[in-house]
Amino acid sequence: MHEFSICQNLVEAILDAIKTMQPRPKRLLSAHVVAGRMRQIVPQFLESAYEALIQDTPAAGSKLNIIEAPIKAKCLVCGQVSEITPPSFACQGCQSQSLDTISGMELYLDHLEVEVENETGN
């Protein structure tokens, strides 16, 4: 249930970003978050927390989109970079288990999709 704690940071980041946009967007349509596969984020929990936390904020009514990033690791024996599929943590080249994980722990707000006034003012 650490999703709620993470979501508080997410909503804070979104509201900060909206505040600094010039001109101010009419509304936020969606927020896109990249979550590494190694992180044990349950998308449904994050979405529920998001819906609860955006109520009565400038982000109200927006959707959350979670983009899963694969786990990649560099083999310390042969140097090959492999995509890892848990529960098997082994190099796809030489099967060594001496690996340095280089991605899969990401957790960041990547981009927002907003609705802005048309240049004609409509």
Partner: protein, 218 residues
């Protein structure tokens, strides 16, 4: 009109800033901090009680005791004259860096070489959070089954050592040690595993020796 705005903001950023502050304190005070993670009832507190006996004063250690409710574990350790600071998460399933930072400052840091954080009993959430520790240590008891490393890969992947506790119960369980060790190795091939019983003091010396060496080298 729709517009896409690139943001890129790390959602663990605030936690990482607190973890970095904790690392600065630890560096200044020359203290090693380890973060013990295991399920409720895995034997984490019993392990801490026994570490004191086996350290034989070679390292002065204090404990940050994380619990959802009650100060029972902290009281158990305080009766052994172990400096302890209790962290009550009031429902939260893990410790975060800010809470740990302030609790750390409550310990008599000038009198310590090692701080052991006993995280909230949980194999999932605590593994996600950097609290400024030098090492996460996974504790798995033999009553929990052989396959836990496969089910909770992040914890075992992040841990610098794995403790297999309650081995005194092995004669009464259909537990296959080789299957359990293979599962741990599948997630992290080079992680040291210490099979021990804190209750019977079996296997404790090897684990405490590792802790002493890690504390010097870290």
């Amino acid at each position: 009109m729709k517009q896409e705005i690139k943001v890129y903001r790390n959602l663990m950023g605030a936690n990482e800033e607190w973890a970095a502050k904790t690392r600065e304190v630890l560096k200044e005070k020359k203290i090693t901090m380890i973060n013990i993670i295991g399920s409720p009832g895995a034997g984490k507190t019993a392990l801490l009680e026994k570490i004191q006996t086996f350290l034989k004063g070679r390292l002065r250690f204090g404990v940050l005791e994380g619990d959802v409710e009650t100060t029972r574990d902290a009281e158990r350790l305080a009766t052994l004259q172990i400096p302890v600071s209790q962290l009550l998460t009031d429902g939260a399933c893990h410790l975060e860096a800010k809470l740990v930072h302030y609790a750390l400052l409550d310990l008599p840091l000038d009198e310590l070489d090692l701080v052991i954080v006993e995280n909230v009993g949980n194999l999932v959430c605590p593994a996600e959070f950097d609290i400024g520790e030098h090492a996460k240590i996974a504790v798995l008891s033999v009553t929990e089954g052989e396959d836990k490393a496969l089910k909770y890969p992040l914890l075992f992947r992040e841990s610098k050592a794995v403790i297999l506790s309650k081995i005194d119960l092995l004669p009464y369980l259909p537990f296959q040690m080789d299957v359990c060790l293979a599962a741990v190795k599948q997630i992290k091939g080079d992680v040291p595993v210490f099979a021990l019983s804190a209750y019977k003091s079996e296997g404790m010396q090897a684990w405490v020796d590792w802790l002493l060496t890690f504390s010097e080298k870290k």
